[in-house]
């Protein structure tokens, strides 16, 4: 379990992380989502005790990282894939880490096997592709068989096979009851991997919600309605408090009422329906909606002229 309370970090006058509080629970994959530059890596470095916060506090299993008696046995982290001496072999890199925390050398070969690097274990890491470096970083994180795992953008540089492998690995680790905290700027990836998401923008917490709820609660969730008498139906929907948008293809996008309520309303009027289909937004859209205010640079939003808010 990871707990952050009011975590704040400045670099000069720039605020990288601002009053950030969240909890990461064991047994689930928690996604750490935010645009590039939103403070994800800084937050992870503060969890690991590498950067000192200017204010606030963060603990792992109730302790400050600095006070962990056996850090590698308790927390494993992949922070940057390329943070390996290029002249050192993969095995030597893992060995020198293992020795600090009295992890047996048999475990080094075990994690090399797990990440599929056994055949290149003796090669210098400088020759590794980004994907292989990611795997080595993941092996280092797994080394002490820790309960808490942090991964900063673990799928960067991986091919589709590798991405699927990481996804299954993360889910498997969570299923074993471990705390898994994984950052990404790819919402689509998190939609597939994370059970819960901590969303930040400009260093501030935007939301911490279960992934499913994030998608469901999003106002991007809407019902597509087609009808030969669309104007009549729209007027009735507006009266009932729905937000309706007439699309270019003649369909009506309805927000604020679900498909059951819309169907019953149509039956009462009565109006013939040709389509009544709930559309769920992708996590990507939900995320964009949430971070719209906080991203530093974004294009002007395109507004639809046919949008009409009833009762506004």
């Amino acid at each position: 379990m990871i707990e952050a309370k009011g975590l704040t970090k400045h670099y000069g006058t720039k605020v990288a992380v601002d009053q950030l509080s969240f909890e990461v629970q064991p047994g689930v994959v928690t996604g750490f989502l935010g645009p590039n530059g939103s403070g994800k890596s800084t937050t992870m470095r503060m969890i690991m005790g590498l950067d000192a916060p200017n204010a606030g506090d963060v603990t792992v299993n109730g302790r400050h990282y600095h006070d962990l008696p056996w850090p590698l046995h308790e927390v494993g982290a992949l922070l940057e894939a390329k943070a390996i001496h290029p002249g050192r072999s993969a095995r030597a890199h893992l060995q020198m880490l293992a020795e600090t925390n009295h992890v047996g050398l048999g475990r080094v070969d075990e994690v090399l096997e797990t990440v599929g690097l056994s055949s290149v274990a003796g090669q210098r890491a400088g020759k590794f592709s980004l994907g292989m470096s990611q795997r080595l970083g993941i092996a280092a994180a797994l080394l002490g068989d820790p309960e808490v795992l942090l991964f900063d953008e673990p799928v960067n540089g991986l091919d589709p096979d590798g991405i699927r492998w990481v996804r299954n690995l993360l889910k498997g680790l969570a299923r074993q009851g471990r705390t898994v905290f994984v950052s990404s700027h790819l919402m689509s990836e998190m939609a597939l991997t994370a059970d819960e998401v901590v969303i930040i923008g400009k260093g501030r917490l935007i939301a911490q919600v279960p992934t499913a709820e994030l998608i469901a609660q999003s106002s991007q969730r809407f019902v597509r309605v087609r009808s030969p008498e669309i104007a009549k139906l729209r007027a009735a929907l507006d009266r009932d408090g729905a937000t309706t948008v007439l699309e270019d293809d003649g369909s009506l996008s309805v927000r604020g009422l679900d498909e059951i309520a819309i169907g019953e309303l149509a039956g009462r009027i009565p109006v013939v329906l040709h389509e009544l289909s709930p559309q769920s937004a992708s996590l990507e859209e939900a995320f964009m909606e949430l971070t719209e205010e906080s991203i530093e640079y974004h294009g002007a939003p395109a507004t639809s002229t046919s949008e009409k808010r009833a009762g506004a």
Partner: protein, 270 residues
């Protein structure tokens, strides 16, 4: 695999020095360039001493009486120390700056968050390796040099006045210089910057000091590392500090650099 919800059983106690020393030893010998540099220090360091002594022997008959009388067979055989201080110093820099340059430092501090402990382990392992290599160079150079200085040239034995001190002292000198460089690198963190600073103190500072007015020049010069090294290795060095005082002073420089580095290590983000 331990099902984590219940809490993993940790080994008793806490990570500490024994693991860190082993880790630093693995780090040092798993980089091929480190091993090459150490090998080079031995071969070239000994080679320079051999050249210097062989050259003296070759010209012995044409040397003036004064030169023959003031000839220092021990110091001449140890001439390679001036090369060794560069390679060992640069290695001392790389042992620390290499971790910063590659980002390995973050893995190191994640495994062992008590940073001063890491610095102590690093300095201990590097210090011992540097000392062993430097003593090997010193004794090898001395014996090889004395063999090459066959009669009628003056040659020394370990029993000659000041000889053992000079030979063993030159190894200690190189070790202290290496630790000083390690301290500088802990403060500066960048390889190029730390090597520049090290070479600056060792080779450029003496040139600047020698340009000072002669009323203050000797008083300042005796504090310079290379001057201290000269007094340890050769038998006659004018107004330099005596060898052991000089060595103590040099250890003080190294300790100061390491302590400042250690304080910064704790204060700065990794």
């Amino acid at each position: 695999m331990t099902p984590a919800g219940a809490g993993k059983v940790l080994p008793p106690g806490r990570y500490g020095m024994s693991g860190l020393l082993r880790s630093e030893w693995t780090k040092l010998r798993s980089i091929r360039s480190t091993m090459w540099t150490l090998g080079l220090t031995i071969v070239v360091g000994t080679g320079i001493g051999a050249l210097a002594t062989a050259e003296t022997r070759a010209h012995w008959s044409s040397m003036s009486l004064g030169s023959r009388l003031s000839f220092d067979p021990t110091g001449t055989s140890l001439a390679g120390a001036f090369f060794g201080q560069l390679t060992i110093g640069i290695l001392g820099v790389l042992v620390m700056s290499g971790e910063y340059g590659t980002g390995t430092i973050r893995a190191t501090f994640s495994a062992a968050p008590r940073r001063p402990l890491v610095l102590v382990a690093k300095a201990a392992v590097f210090g011992v390796v540097a000392l062993v290599v430097a003593e090997v160079v010193a004794f090898l150079s001395f014996f090889l040099g004395q063999v090459l200085l066959s009669a009628p040239a003056t040659h020394a034995t370990l029993g000659s006045p000041g000889a053992l001190r000079a030979v063993a002292g030159s190894g200690l000198y190189l070790c202290a210089i290496g630790l000083f460089a390690l301290g500088l690198a802990t403060i500066i963190r960048h390889t190029a910057g730390a090597i520049s600073a090290f070479v600056g103190v060792l080779l450029v500072l003496p040139i600047i000091v020698r340009a000072l007015p002669s009323s203050i020049e000797p008083e300042i010069e005796r504090f310079l590392p290379d001057h201290i090294g000269g007094a340890i290795i050769s038998l006659h060095m004018g107004d330099a500090f005596s060898p052991w005082i000089g060595l103590l002073l040099l250890c003080g420089y190294a300790a100061l650099a390491l302590v400042i580095g250690g304080v910064l290590l704790v204060r700065r983000d990794a």
